[in-house]
């Protein structure tokens, strides 16, 4: 009887260990993919803002997290979301989660996305958040941004900035008043309340990064 029990326990242990091994294997495979997955630590950066200063996430000592949004001047989807990005910053900066906008496009390919045009756009729209140029295009591939606009919600923790949500701002680019699921707002609210974020990733059509 006792023998059977021991056998049972060791089988359980085996399953336990095996499941861990599988888990590690999956994690290792994910790391081979380009860009961040949910739960990854996001690297900090130092990029030039439209006001001429250099901006890093580490500058924000009291932040609880960040809405890192890859966006640009020229993409119609990015333009359709500009006012909503401003609204996100107005709502969540006071709660410790500011918007950090990054233009990932290469201005030599896309002249409308030059630094000078970024300054113009930020001025015209009255951006309340940093609008940074990914000079040399080193940051967006690390994050795995593929389009504009593309949102990465980071939570600041003791071990670093953890990626909590990747995807679209909401479920209706055409009409802000017809949004049924404000994905980013739901994600930030859940994060600040310590709740599970659902969904953690969403998809949207956007302009490819050039």
């Amino acid at each position: 009887m006792k023998k059977i029990r021991i056998l049972g326990w060791s089988a359980l242990l085996l399953i336990f260990v095996a499941s861990f091994a599988v888990g590690f294997k999956v994690a290792a495979e994910h790391n081979l993919d380009d860009g961040y997955e949910i739960g990854d630590l996001a690297d900090d950066f130092e990029l030039k803002n439209v006001d001429g200063t250099m901006v890093s996430l580490s500058d924000y000592e009291s932040a609880k997290g960040f809405l890192v949004i890859f966006t640009c001047n020229t993409c119609p989807y990015a333009q359709a979301y500009e006012d909503r990005v401003i609204a996100l910053d107005a709502k969540y900066k006071p709660q410790g989660v500011p918007v950090i906008a990054i233009n990932p496009n290469d201005p030599s390919v896309k002249s409308g996305d030059s630094f000078a045009k970024m300054i113009e756009r930020a001025d015209k729209k009255g951006f309340t958040f940093p609008y940074l140029l990914d000079e040399g295009q080193k940051v967006y591939p690390k994050y795995g941004a593929t389009r504009t606009p593309h949102v990465f919600l980071l939570e600041k923790t003791a071990i670093g900035n953890v990626v909590r949500y990747i995807g679209a701002i909401d479920d209706n680019y055409q009409n802000a008043s017809q949004v049924e699921k404000p994905f980013v707002e739901n994600a930030v609210n859940a994060m600040l309340a310590g709740n599970e974020i659902n969904p953690k990733t969403t998809k949207a059509i956007g302009c490819g990064i050039k």
Partner: protein
């Protein structure tokens, strides 16, 4: 009294159902694998069919011996316009060879008249052009392909035996070589 209640209950269920059925059949008939264009949007002067995803989806699942080249594009997408001549060339070279090229425009409604129609006319686009107008992108993108992150240009090539999704642009040679793997 009880019996009366029962009768009225049964009647209401029967009629309730009948009414619902009537409402359903009042819509345009949805035949399997037939695309259903949106109507009554006041967009009748646009010379391309306009679909929401439900109406569009049958195009992704034809099982008729043809090979379909479904290209997702928009007039604001520069790399999409760069590869457009290659799709047009494929369309003409494979004319009558069981290959269907469909150009699915993701242009926004305010661009249909101002940009899409002029582009198609000016460039004399011969391939079939349809408009996919459905803002619930997070719902339908995975139904086109689980691999699709949402970037364009993107192309789906499929027939009854094979199906591949490409989130990238093509040169003519690349596109033709890919297509050949479906036909031979």
């Amino acid at each position: 009294m009880n019996r009366l209640l029962l009768i009225s209950l049964v009647m209401s269920i029967v009629f309730g159902c009948a009414e619902k059925k009537k409402a359903d059949s009042g819509k345009s008939e949805i035949v399997e694998n037939e695309m259903v264009a949106k109507d009554g949007d006041g967009q009748n002067d646009i010379p391309f069919p306009i679909y929401d995803f439900d109406g569009f989806e049958p195009l992704l699942h034809n099982n008729d011996g043809k090979t379909y080249v479904i290209n997702f594009w928009a007039t604001w997408c520069k790399p999409c316009l760069e590869e457009m001549p290659h799709f047009e060339r494929i369309n003409s070279e494979y004319d009558g060879k069981n290959v269907e090229v469909v150009l699915v425009s993701l242009d926004m409604p305010n661009m249909w008249k101002s940009r899409l129609e002029p582009y198609v006319m000016k460039n004399k686009i011969q391939s079939q052009v349809v408009i996919l107008d459905d803002p619930k992108q997070n719902d339908w993108i995975p139904k086109v392909s689980e691999e699709w992150g949402g970037g364009i240009p993107a192309t789906l090539i499929y027939n009854k035996d094979k199906r591949t999704f490409y989130e990238r642009g093509f040169t003519y040679e690349e596109l033709n070589n890919e297509l050949k793997t479906f036909i031979n």
